[in-house]
């Protein structure tokens, strides 16, 4: 399809694409900009776009008010921990489904996905009671377990679609080469599926990072991640747009940066076998 694309056409398409891209990104950009304004400038009319007195006062204020590093660390531990634990459980499961399919495999997969349709609010009280009895309230481990469970179906599915693209012959070759089940999964399957596993990991870190129901309801102080941090800014007395923006920026920046750096990986694996 390499017919000459005229440069004017390319310029036109570029202009349209950039305009749309910036429009979609604008709310985030605006939040970041606002976080550097004073409260008065933040609600000034007409709004100032770039020409205002840049200040980091909001960040200072937010930091003095909340223990950002603690929340940040909790978010990191919870999202990465739950993803790793999920992978640990999901890799063998996906292996079985992809390479030793049985009649019920598709049904099991679909059933797993359907567990994600349970509305969390409906089961909060039972889970809360269980957590209380097991002493898991406000613990990182408790959140890791919950987030692992809620994301497990997605992890299994992503890995399943990814594994299915790996030719079974390679695993058979390993078996012929004397590899046991463990060697097969560890030395052959897992390294071959690294791109898929990486994107699964990324997507799940993002989903766990942004999960705001369980993380908010099952934690108090020690294990509270950034979602709880944001909850303490969501409606303070008076609408402090600038402080809110600073807190928002702090909450989303890590994942935004991670997402940007790894978008290639993410894109590659996000296809859920949708692309053949």
């Amino acid at each position: 399809m390499a017919r000459n694309v005229s440069n004017t056409r390319k310029a036109l398409v570029t202009a349209v694409a950039w305009t749309i891209g910036i429009l979609i990104f604008f709310p985030i950009l605006w939040t970041i900009l606002t976080s550097f304004k004073t409260e008065a400038e933040a609600i000034a009319s007409p709004p100032s776009f770039l020409f205002f007195d840049w200040t980091v006062e909001n960040y200072v204020e937010v930091n003095s008010r909340s223990n950002y590093p603690l929340h940040f660390m909790n978010s990191v531990i919870i999202s990465i921990g739950s993803t790793l634990l999920g992978l640990l459980i999901a890799i063998p499961a996906a292996w079985s489904m992809a390479f030793v399919p049985a009649k019920r495999t598709k049904d099991i997969l679909m059933w797993m996905l359907s567990t994600k349709m349970l509305p969390p609010v409906g089961v909060l009280i039972p889970i809360y009671l269980l957590f209380r009895d097991f002493g898991l309230l406000d613990t990182r481990i408790g959140l890791v377990v919950v987030l692992t469970l809620i994301n497990l179906p997605i992890i299994v599915w992503m890995l399943y679609t990814y594994f299915k693209e790996i030719p079974g012959e390679i695993l058979e070759a390993a078996r012929m080469d004397g590899a046991g089940l463990w060697d097969e999964v560890v030395h052959v399957l897992t390294p071959m599926a690294i791109p898929g596993i990486a994107s699964t990991l990324l997507l799940n870190v993002i989903l766990s990072w942004n999960e705001a129901f369980w993380t908010l309801n099952l934690t108090a102080a020690k294990a509270a991640p950034l979602t709880a941090f944001i909850a303490s800014y969501s409606s303070p007395e008076g609408l402090f747009y600038a402080k809110l923006s600073a807190a928002s920026t702090l909450a989303i920046a890590p994942i935004l940066i991670l997402g940007w750096f790894s978008q290639k990986q993410l894109v590659r694996g996000l296809t859920f076998g949708a692309v053949k």
């Binding site: 030719p167 012959e169 390679i170 058979e172 070759a173 390993a174 078996r175 012929m176 080469d177 004397g178 590899a179 046991g180 060697d183 030395h187 052959v188 390294p191 071959m192 690294i194």
Partner: protein, 333 residues
């Protein structure tokens, strides 16, 4: 080392019996080729021997011991897959070392064997590349390398050359033959390709729908096919079959003549026909001739023979080379 015996083995997938009870003995050091139409069970048979599938019934013994329940890793066989099944994330060297590592062999010995294999296969310069950076023929060699380092009791090949282009196929065919001559290890080789089967095999096993139709050396099958199926399957272009009155003349239900055993004349001969297509290859000419009452017949003439579409020609069979079959399709000796 390398004697494989299949006794009354069968294989069913669900309700479908793919391999009916089958007996086969493969001797040490033999180069055995399985041929047969697509779906006849060649791969299945190979995978049963490898242990990648369980037999439904029957017994497989390798070197005299019953291996029916032994997992693939323990059977001491090596397999080269159609897709090569190289490990894409490992270098050539790691690929070749993998089976040795799995066997927990002494690292120095690993090194030695890999170096030796790489030398035999001309891979020494590529040891640090990944499979993705190799050409088809090189990949093929890595797959073989991975098989030979283990010094297996036997090699199993499942259509290993079918993904290569024609020129490379010829080369690799020669290389595998040479390898067999060097190693003298039992090899079981599945192919679709006439030429490969004819040129490489010590013994060809012709399968149809899971049945063994005939076992024998290539020229044995070419000259003395046991039945019509084998006769039609071995040889290219395909043997011409004639039924009815003309066959009766030879006291047979069906007669078969290979295209290369028909003499062609523009003036006289046993059968008169009209040329439908003439393919001039320079070295040979293939003619497709419509003889009344017969199916289209293929004739091969060496060198050139200037006829064209629509010409009338006469065909005569070489009576020495004629094959006769009875109603059941069995050869009449």
């Amino acid at each position: 080392m390398g004697n494989i015996v299949l006794k009354q083995i069968t294989k069913s997938f669900g309700d479908v019996q793919v391999i009916p009870p089958l007996d086969l003995e493969i001797n040490e050091g033999e180069f055995v080729v399985f041929v047969g139409p697509s779906g006849c069970g060649k791969s299945t048979l190979l995978r049963l021997i490898a242990g990648l599938e369980d037999v439904t019934s029957g017994e497989i013994s390798i070197d005299g011991t019953n291996a029916t329940e032994v997992p693939p890793a323990k059977r001491g066989l090596a397999m080269v897959f159609q897709s090569y099944a190289l490990y894409p994330h490992m270098s050539v060297k790691k690929n070749i070392t993998f089976p040795l590592k799995m066997a927990k062999m002494d690292p120095a010995e690993q090194e030695r064997r890999v170096a030796a294999a790489a030398k035999v296969l001309n891979l020494t310069d590529y040891l640090h590349r990944r499979p993705g950076q190799l050409s088809g023929g090189q990949r093929q060699r890595v797959a073989i390398g991975r098989a030979i380092v283990r010094e297996p009791a036997a090699f199993l090949f499942d259509e290993p050359l079918s993904n290569l282009d024609a020129a490379l196929r010829v080369n690799m065919r020669l290389e595998i033959s040479e390898l067999h001559q060097t190693l003298k290890t039992t090899m079981i080789y599945v192919t679709h390709d006439q030429v490969e089967a004819m040129t490489m095999a010590d013994k060809i096993v012709v399968l149809q729908a899971g049945f063994i139709e005939q076992v024998g050396s290539p020229l044995e099958l070419y000259h003395n096919p046991r039945n019509k199926f084998v006769a039609g399957f071995i040889g290219s272009p395909k043997m011409n079959f004639i039924e009815g009155a003309d066959a009766q003349k030879f006291d047979a239900h069906t007669i078969g003549i290979r295209p290369e055993h028909l003499t062609l004349s523009t003036t006289e001969g046993m059968w008169k026909g009209v040329v439908t297509v003439a393919e001039h290859l320079g070295s040979d000419t293939f003619l497709y001739v419509n003889v009344e009452g017969f199916d289209a017949m293929t004739v091969r003439v060496n060198g050139e023979f200037s006829v064209k579409h629509g010409d009338t020609v006469y065909l005569s069979p070489d009576p020495e080379k004629l094959h006769r079959f009875d109603q059941q399709g069995l050869r009449i000796a």
